[in-house]
Subunit: 345 residues, 2 copies
């Protein structure tokens, strides 16, 4: 018996249950049971030991594909992200991966931002028989979601909510977050507060806008200084800010629908020769990485993307492993991250 593990294990063309079984002189089903921690106690200790040794020697590794075909479970989760290159989503992705790995699932990642839309992407994921889906792309009333539901595949929405409550969704309390932002600006003495909102076909866009309007009315301010950006990007933010400052030059503070929009807004402010925060205060939303080092360091609302990712993964796995769970809405509580892009009036 020469089990010198130091040498690279023999080149195993393909070790299978069968090949281990033959070498051990037992049936392949016995090998399967011996190697499964949940069943190995049903096999005599001596056989388990022999099987383990042989499996080790051959470098046997259970073929997840074959197992998936037989059991109907792939232990694969599809994750659809609107923009993979966006640092905020990178944070979320990391958290999802981390949590899924703990539960023994792997993550199939797709970028839903392409021109063809998310439907073909989700269909591809379904063909791969993913056990569940995390959608960060969902629009407020999404045909993709309808497809997932009719295919009976467990799905959670993250950072998005849909109008009909058909699946669990994890999101920040957008309305509450905007209240925080408005209250902060009011406490600094601002009255002419405007809002660069996110796209109207996304829940965050509408909810944050609604939150803005509610909060403004609450303190008896005019909530009508709002422009919706066409997408979440710096360019779109800059364009929206251009319109906004053209129409309402008296604005002394701007609440942006997300950080990228805020950054675009600041660029436009600088471009006009104005200063943020001296002339105009700006507040973002999400607290994406690096915001503490931009100029000026951006005051923002932390939407806890990492936490949302972890919660989404956890909720999805729970939904998969418990046969049925009621759809619910899990909201994270936003916090104000005070930095230097907001100043007293």
């Amino acid at each position: 018996m020469r089990t010198t593990t130091s040498q690279a294990p023999t080149v195993h063309r393909s070790a299978t249950l069968q090949s281990v079984a033959e070498a051990t002189g037992v049936h392949r089903s016995t090998v399967a049971r011996a190697l499964d921690p949940g069943q190995s106690h049903r096999i005599s200790a001596e056989v388990v030991e022999r099987v383990r040794a042989e499996a080790q020697r051959q470098g046997y590794r259970r073929d997840q594909i074959a197992a998936s075909l037989r059991t109907g479970k792939s232990r694969l989760i599809g994750v659809v992200i609107p923009d993979l290159a966006n640092p905020a989503f990178a944070t979320m992705l990391a958290a999802i991966e981390d949590r899924l790995a703990i539960d023994g699932y792997s993550m199939l990642v797709a970028d839903g931002g392409g021109s063809s839309g998310a439907l073909p992407i989700v269909e591809e994921l379904m063909a791969r028989r993913v056990d569940g889906l995390v959608l960060a792309t969902a629009t407020r009333d999404d045909p993709v979601l309808t497809a997932c539901i009719s295919a009976a595949i467990p799905t959670v929405l993250v950072n998005r909510r849909e109008d009909a409550l058909r699946v669990t969704s994890i999101a920040a309390n957008d309305v509450g977050g905007m209240c925080l932002a408005v209250e902060h600006l009011v406490s600094l003495g601002h009255c002419e507060i405007a809002h660069v909102a996110g796209p109207i076909d996304m829940s965050t866009g509408v909810l944050r806008r609604r939150g803005f309007e509610d909060a403004m009315r609450q303190v008896n301010l005019d909530p009508s200084f709002v422009i919706s950006a066409t997408e979440y990007s710096r360019d779109a933010g800059r364009i929206a800010a251009t319109q906004l400052l053209g129409r309402w030059p008296q604005a002394t503070a701007i609440v942006a629908g997300n950080d990228l929009l805020a950054l675009g807004t600041i660029q436009e402010i600088k471009h006009r020769g104005l200063s943020c925060p001296d002339d105009i205060s700006v507040i973002g939303h999400n607290d994406m990485p690096l915001l503490d080092m931009v100029a000026p360091p951006l005051t923002t609302i932390d939407a806890e993307f990492a936490r949302m990712g972890a919660l989404a993964a956890r909720a999805l796995v729970a939904g998969i492993e418990a046969a049925r769970t009621e759809p619910e809405v899990i909201l994270t509580t936003p916090r104000l991250i005070l930095r230097e892009s907001t100043a007293a009036r």
Copy 2:
């Protein structure tokens, strides 16, 4: 409680080749051929049409799992990233995904940054029978890579190179990039130039350091002001900068091994009441997102992460589809991105 959910089309329990075949009155192999664009010409047009219609009606979708088991090809690529949350890698991931999607592959993403190391992660990917692997985590002499090679699974390294040239790797010309950085600083009149290097067990760490030393010698400057950070992060950069400035307070310029290290260095400079770039110029490496908006906007070397990602995906797919390709090293040509963290002496 069995409420009849608003069933849109038919509830397809699971449409299979068999079920379509039965409904059409042909054999399942005929269905398979009719549905495969590469073989449908061998089947009479009339049958193809009937099969297509029935498949459509049942919502048939080829089971990729079963196909993988049979063919031994999963059309799945494993991608291992050292730090998913790092925006630079997010960029790269987006590019990889984009390119793989074009070639019809899906991407299984794992974070190799965990404490347990990358080996178990790669083993999991191998159990899933990935057709190939993109490793952005490889160290200079990586046991993980040895495992991949002995398992005969096509692998490419990205943003990393290994000492022995066993597989294709895609990376920036690190040495050349550092030359660019040093030349730039020299042209601004700096003489006391220091280097906050990346970890010594990573190719980028060593190569950039070597590039720094070479470039310094080239212009007859002392190349010995170097401190290696323990990892690529702002904190590590700050710690390294602390040591560096303690030992060589005369430094007027610092070249950092990557942008995060540069950012940490700048934090430390500010912390000491000094100014970047007035007292000390800093130059980063990689050109990660948002650097144009930090304070001061960071001069850096663009390592073209997106391009590397695309090249890696392309090379990997080529290596999978051609039976064998010689390992090669593909280097991207770095560019200096001039911003405001460097100033004349």
